[in-house]
């Protein structure tokens, strides 16, 4: 069985360590991720101004093409893409006037009504495969790995597109348990990393990163588990300097898909650990999960 899949720009370059283990893992689980043909950038952020339709063209065009290709469900991996596509989809479902304007402008030959269901890969694992079934397919349980789930913002906010309970999400916790790891809860798991402020206020980002990383670390986490390439960059790129300044040890950052591939017993090369921040390879070797 195959699932229509939207990768987005970053997964093809900086975040190959998010995408490639996902594609390999899903194939191993019998669900092939089938890339939508003709996809374009989703715009990364959903426009928050009521009159700004031009910035909704990019995500809606993607959704229109998915429907034209006969698919009614679209799987995303990048948390930013999920948020933008899902919010644009909601607009097409609920606002008749804007829907008509966008359909006329996009001119793809169909009137798109917001009927494609946009989901995140974590939802596929939770709702279509199920944690018990996933646990049965684990070949290398991630025993003794204490991992803190970090959700960031876009998987959970706004409420109408959240993939889980906004206040107390559990999807990453359950995912980690299914793989045999020990999930570590900490208070900042849904706190913003500073997002796009990295291009104008990098100093603020270092402070946000310090708060998040030191909290996870003080709760006993050996690694932080991520879903978003911008969280990865914001929490990772300044870690060496942060570690010098604050004395905080480096916290390895891992994408959830890398842990999935590892636990399913796939070739670790598919995980591209060389692209990660915080040297997770030495941690994984110490835990006997990597040789």
């Amino acid at each position: 069985m195959s699932l229509a899949y939207y990768p987005g720009c970053t997964l093809k370059t900086r975040a190959r360590n998010l995408e490639e283990p996902a594609v390999a893992s899903m194939e191993a689980l019998g669900l092939k991720l089938d890339e939508v043909s003709g996809w374009n950038c989703c715009g990364a952020v959903y426009s928050l101004a009521d009159d700004d339709l031009i910035h909704r063209v990019a995500p809606v065009r993607n959704l229109t093409r998915v429907e034209k290709q006969g698919k009614m469900e679209l799987v995303t991996l990048c948390a930013f893409c999920l948020n933008t596509l899902k919010r644009a989809n909601l607009l097409m479902k609920e606002d008749v006037e804007k829907r008509d304007t966008l359909n006329t402008f996009i001119d793809e030959g169909i009137a798109y009504n917001g009927e494609v269901k946009v989901v995140h890969l974590l939802e596929v694992l939770r709702d279509e495969i199920g944690w018990e079934s996933l646990a049965q397919k684990v070949k290398l349980p991630l025993r003794e790995l204490k991992a803190a789930p970090y959700y960031g913002c876009t998987l959970l906010r706004p409420r109408e597109v959240a993939i889980d309970n906004v206040e107390a999400p559990s999807v990453l916790r359950e995912f980690l348990k299914a793989l045999g790891a020990t999930p570590i809860d900490f208070g900042e798991s849904t706190q913003c990393c500073g997002s796009y402020q990295i291009i104008s206020n990098p100093n603020d980002i270092s402070e946000y990163a310090r708060v998040i990383l030191s909290s996870a670390s003080s709760h006993g986490a050996e690694a932080l588990i991520l879903t978003c390439p911008l969280c990865d960059y914001n929490l990772g790129q300044g870690q060496k300097e942060l570690s010098k300044k604050s004395g905080l040890g480096e916290v390895p950052l891992l994408y959830f898909t890398q842990l999935l591939a590892l636990a399913l017993g796939l070739d670790p090369q598919v995980c591209h650990f060389e692209l990660n921040y915080g040297s997770p390879e030495s941690l994984l070797m110490a835990k006997g999960l990597l040789s």
Partner: protein, 139 residues
Amino acid sequence: MTRKVPVTISPKRSRSEFARRVKELSGQNLQLCYQCGLCSGNCPAVTNMDISPRRIIELARLGLEDEIANSKTVWICASCLACAVNCPRGLDLSKVMEAIRLLTLRKNIDHVRPEDIPLQERCELPQIAMVSGLRKFTG
């Protein structure tokens, strides 16, 4: 954070073009706000702001454009929506912040110039950082 801003409030200012445009662009009814401050309390960036999110709402609905224009708050907001999901009145403050940013950006006044971002950083940043940042900070 407390900062005293001497202001003159009047029905004329609260019905100003600025107040009307913020309401129109954000789609938010600012009169719903009862100033409980949960938005500020949940904002992870509030300590870097010179005017708290709660006060931005109050200034915006009073039409106090200059006070807002002189503040860096809307340029510190990362649209994380911690305010929106916690607002007991159902207001989405991230849309108010965006509306205020756009009133500047649409005058062709950019907050960030791409050429000012160091080349090495431009090469290293993930695309979503560049696309989202330039979407939020340029017109």
